[in-house]
């Protein structure tokens, strides 16, 4: 599956459009991580637990989007965008959407 965030797949020709595909996931951090983060917050620096959380949820969202695109018979997703929102305290929603296409 080819993923890009430009309008086309560079160097390839789009032969068919399938419309929008999307994937989202809502993740919460667990208490232990929360506690470690608040300790780390005293001295500053990278919060590795949260970075991982963010990365995992973004990958999960993309995986779901990819599954949807595959179901439609596409072999590429173009114009991918990421969006984030917080639905509840301590939980984050990561959302990815794009256009499923078939390229040569």
């Amino acid at each position: 599956m080819i993923m890009t965030n430009v309008n086309t797949v560079p160097g390839k020709k789009i032969v068919e459009h399938f419309g929008i595909v999307q994937g989202s996931t809502v993740r919460a951090k667990h208490v232990g991580r929360d506690f470690m983060a608040s300790l780390k917050n005293l001295v500053g620096g990278e919060l590795k637990g949260y970075t991982e959380l963010l990365q995992d949820s973004r990958e999960e969202a993309m995986k779901r989007m990819e599954a949807q695109a595959r179901q439609m018979g596409a072999n590429a997703v173009v114009n991918i965008r990421f969006a984030t929102s917080s639905v509840a305290q301590g939980a984050a929603e990561l959302f990815a959407y794009g256009t499923a296409v078939r390229v040569e």
Binding site: I2, N41, G45, I80, R81, T84
Partner: protein, 158 residues
């Protein structure tokens, strides 16, 4: 000794304040050094926010690359920022935090592109996220989450 125990709150506050200053500024300096060094190493890899158009046959492969980081502020700087809130003006301590987060995210994205053997990254976008709703309120974690993403282009050899 009695005075210390009586003013335990103040003592704890002072310890945190000093610890935040010493460790925080040391960590920030180290981070900036590492950012600058890695930026120099990756300077050959061009990153643009525009969409390029390529003549047919030039592009071998293209893929989405991403980089993300969560960075928090230290205790000392948070107090400074709270004081700054009273008078208004530039909150320098937060500026450096945001700057570091964005540059680190871009660097991680570039490293991922480098691994794929990409020549450039087009259509780079930056996004800021919050994990907690009250991310910057009092007694909450003052942190910023930066995501950078773009399309890495691997060129055919000419």
């Amino acid at each position: 000794m009695d005075i210390l125990i009586e003013n335990l709150n103040l003592v704890v506050f002072l310890i945190l304040f000093v610890m935040g200053y010493v460790i925080g500024s040391w960590a920030e300096k180290r981070h900036y050094r590492s950012i600058m060094q890695r930026e120099k190493e990756l300077i050959k890899l061009a990153v643009v926010t525009a969409e390029g158009s390529f003549p047919p046959g030039r592009v071998k492969d293209s893929a989405l690359v991403t980089g993300s980081v969560v960075i928090s502020i230290d205790y000392f700087k948070r107090i400074l920022a709270t004081l700054r809130n009273i008078f208004g003006g530039r909150v320098k301590s937060y500026e450096s935090l945001v700057d570091r987060a964005r540059r680190e995210a871009i660097l991680r994205m570039k490293e991922q592109a480098q691994e794929r053997g990409a020549k450039m990254i087009i259509n780079m976008r930056l996004e800021t996220a919050t994990i907690g709703r009250n991310a910057n309120k009092k007694k909450q974690i003052g942190s910023i989450e930066a995501i950078a993403y773009g399309t890495a282009i691997v060129m055919n050899k000419q």
